[in-house]
């Protein structure tokens, strides 16, 4: 199992539009903020999706969160500690 202790986990609720992933991933890339892991699935209502991001626990985390919140299709962001199981459970598919 990988060690996520230096990481933070962001949970984004977004509009389920084509293009949302480009907007979110593009933002992290152009602001030179590393994304270690990403998971995106439509929610039950099909109108919205959840994007989970595994990112470095970096002093710029608040800044990138504020930038992400400005995206039109991003509705909410929650931050979770690295012990959140979502990516740990995904590990079995990449090992």
């Amino acid at each position: 199992m990988s060690d996520f202790s230096q990481c933070a986990i962001l949970e984004l609720k977004v509009n389920n539009h084509p293009g949302v992933m480009s907007h979110v991933c593009g933002l992290f890339a152009r602001r030179a903020f590393n994304v270690e892991g990403i998971l995106c699935m439509p929610m039950q209502d099909k109108q919205h999706s959840k994007i989970w991001l595994l990112v470095g626990e970096d002093q710029r985390l608040d800044q990138i969160t504020q930038q992400t919140l400005k995206l039109e299709d991003v509705l909410e962001i929650a931050q979770h500690p690295s012990c959140h199981p979502v990516f740990a459970q995904m590990m079995q598919f990449v090992e």
Binding site: G19, S22, Q63, Q66, L69, K70, D73
Partner: protein
């Protein structure tokens, strides 16, 4: 009602109050252009799509309202990119609408297919690839809402040709998109701000474009006067304070006056109003305003704490904050501090030449300003001529100043001036340009001639890429590399070739008389004004240095 996607776009734009659109057609935009004749919208055909983008920017800057440009797919769209990026960095509400290859051909490397959506992502507030004509009912109003809400900015809408052609049945048109209400300061925030300001002995205002965007320039000046608070302006905040105001120290930063940078060293409270602490303004940020507490009033939450950690941050409409402070604060005089500012302005302001020799760039700018008067919108390109203008132009009202700040784009000036002349035809659109910059969009002079616009271009001609040459002179031991424009076109003749009047001060017996005649000639006019390549913009803070370590003059 049955309506095509393209007709719907034009209808919705009309309902948004759009009366003029700059653009250039092509295959993938044919249905859009087919829907234009007969509409209330006047189309301004440019000679290059970059010109269309900057015309829209010029319109938006002078009116404060969103403006639209059109282009076709592929090269049409890529030609818009620089202008949209410019609007993005300066927070200007521009709406770019591009044609795209039919949906069925997307992703096949079809003729003139390019990923416009992908290209626009990093340089817009939001953008769309429209999938159906119905979507336009939502997208067009949303585009106007997003472009004009909060901190304004550009948006882009890419519309495949089949979507433009698609006929749909609709019952009614959606309401036009409008800006969403701005967050207001809380009572607690107002009290904290008031207290902070009341307690400060040496407060300074740092005035940014946010003040102009929030229509509060007059209130801000009144606040400064009521509370005895001197001010510096960012490059884009120029024109908030009228020229010569005794509390105003002009532009801060890389080419700000020495006096403004000393005052910022001494102040004990910095009030950043609608600013983003750009590096050209702050210099080395860790040494910026070393003694000051920082009050940051800013609509964009992500700017707060991005570069400068504030003592107090107010994430709300700067206009509402200023007006509330103006109403609630007790007057203060701060006699000592204000007289210190006066002394700094007198002794360390930008020194103007005493003679009116029109080979000196400051004299050229001052004389042009005198001749054209206050009923003028002032544009520049990028370079030394831009910084000289920013330092000394006698602005009298906000939105009078339009120049590419964040992106620093050569080629902005002429098409932006055309945009201003179209949107604010009662005023002259002045463009102070350089011999390098003017060549980046000179083709649009032809557009100005076609519409007989009141555009006056003054080319301050040092036959050099002057600002680059200046850096090579100061920081690269005069190893001049690729800055020579000595063999350049005859600009006055070029204007004549396009059917306008062209003047060349090098051929004048009385330079001032020729300049006066030229600026009083109706319609588009270009005036070539030769100056020495040795002229430099001073003071100058070396890139990366602290503002206090500015170079006052050559060999100083």
């Amino acid at each position: 009602m049955k309506i095509s996607g393209a007709q719907l776009v034009i209808k919705l734009l009309e309902r948004q109050g759009i009366t003029q659109i700059a653009g250039l057609p092509g295959g993938a935009a044919l249905p859009l252009y087919d829907a234009l004749p007969g509409s209330k919208i006047k189309h301004i055909l440019t000679r290059h799509e970059q010109g269309a983008g900057f015309i829209a920017e010029g319109m938006a800057r002078v009116t404060g309202k969103p403006a639209v440009c059109f282009a076709s797919s592929g090269p049409g769209a890529t030609n818009l990119i620089t202008a949209i990026a410019d609007a993005h960095l300066d927070s200007i509400p521009v709406i770019a609408i591009t044609g795209q290859v039919p949906s069925s051909m997307l992703g096949t490397d079809a003729f003139q297919e390019i990923d416009t959506f992908g290209l626009m992502v990093p340089i817009t507030k939001h953008n769309w690839l429209v999938r159906s004509a119905e979507e336009l009912l939502e997208v067009i109003p949303a585009a106007f809402r997003i472009a004009s809400s909060g901190r304004p900015g550009p948006v882009a809408i890419d519309i495949p040709k089949d979507v433009q052609n698609q006929i749909i049945e609709i019952d009614e048109l959606p309401e036009p998109g409008v800006a969403t209400p701005l967050p207001q300061p809380t009572l607690a925030q107002l009290q904290q701000m008031q207290q902070m300001i009341a307690q400060a002995e040496r407060p300074m205002l740092m005035v940014g474009a946010g003040v102009i965007q929030s229509n509060s320039s007059e209130a801000l000046v009144a606040l400064a006067e009521k509370l005895g608070i001197p001010a510096v302006s960012t490059f884009l905040g120029l024109s908030v304070f009228p020229h010569g105001h005794e509390l105003h120290m002009g532009m801060l930063g890389m080419h700000g006056s020495k006096g403004s940078n000393i005052a910022l060293e001494e102040c004990d409270l910095l009030i950043g109003a609608g600013v983003r602490f750009d590096d050209r303004a702050t210099g080395k940020i860790s040494e910026f305003c070393p003694q000051a507490a920082v009050l940051h009033i800013e609509i964009d939450r992500s700017e707060i704490g991005k570069l400068k950690t504030p003592t107090l941050a107010v994430n709300a409409d700067v206009g509402a904050c200023i007006k509330a402070l103006l109403n609630n604060c007790e007057p203060q005089q701060r006699i000592e501090w204000v007289s210190r500012i006066k002394w700094l302005n007198e002794n360390h302001g930008i020194a103007l030449p005493t003679n009116n020799d029109l080979t000196n760039p400051y004299s050229v700018i001052k004389t042009v300003a005198e001749i054209v008067g206050d009923n003028t919108n002032v544009h520049t390109d990028v370079g030394q001529h831009q910084m000289w203008t920013a330092q000394v132009y006698p602005f009298v009202r906000d939105r009078q100043w339009s120049s590419s700040g964040g992106l620093g784009t050569m080629g902005y000036g002429l098409p932006a001036a055309i945009g201003a002349a179209l949107a604010d035809p009662e005023r002259m659109a002045l463009c102070i340009s350089g011999d390098g910059s003017i060549m980046m969009n000179i083709q649009e002079f032809d557009t100005a001639v076609e519409h007989n616009l009141n555009v006056k271009v003054v080319v301050i001609n040092n036959a050099r890429l002057g600002l680059v040459r200046q850096q090579q002179a100061l920081f690269y031991q005069e190893n001049f590399s690729a800055v020579n424009n000595r063999r350049t076109a005859d600009f006055a003749l070029m204007a004549q070739a396009m059917g306008a009047r062209g003047f060349d001060l090098s051929k004048a017996t009385d330079a001032k008389a020729m300049l006066t005649e030229a600026l009083n000639t109706p319609g588009p006019v270009l005036i070539n004004v030769p100056i020495s390549e040795e002229e430099m913009v001073f003071p100058m803070v070396p890139p990366g240095a602290a503002n206090k370590d500015l170079i006052e003059e050559r060999n100083a």
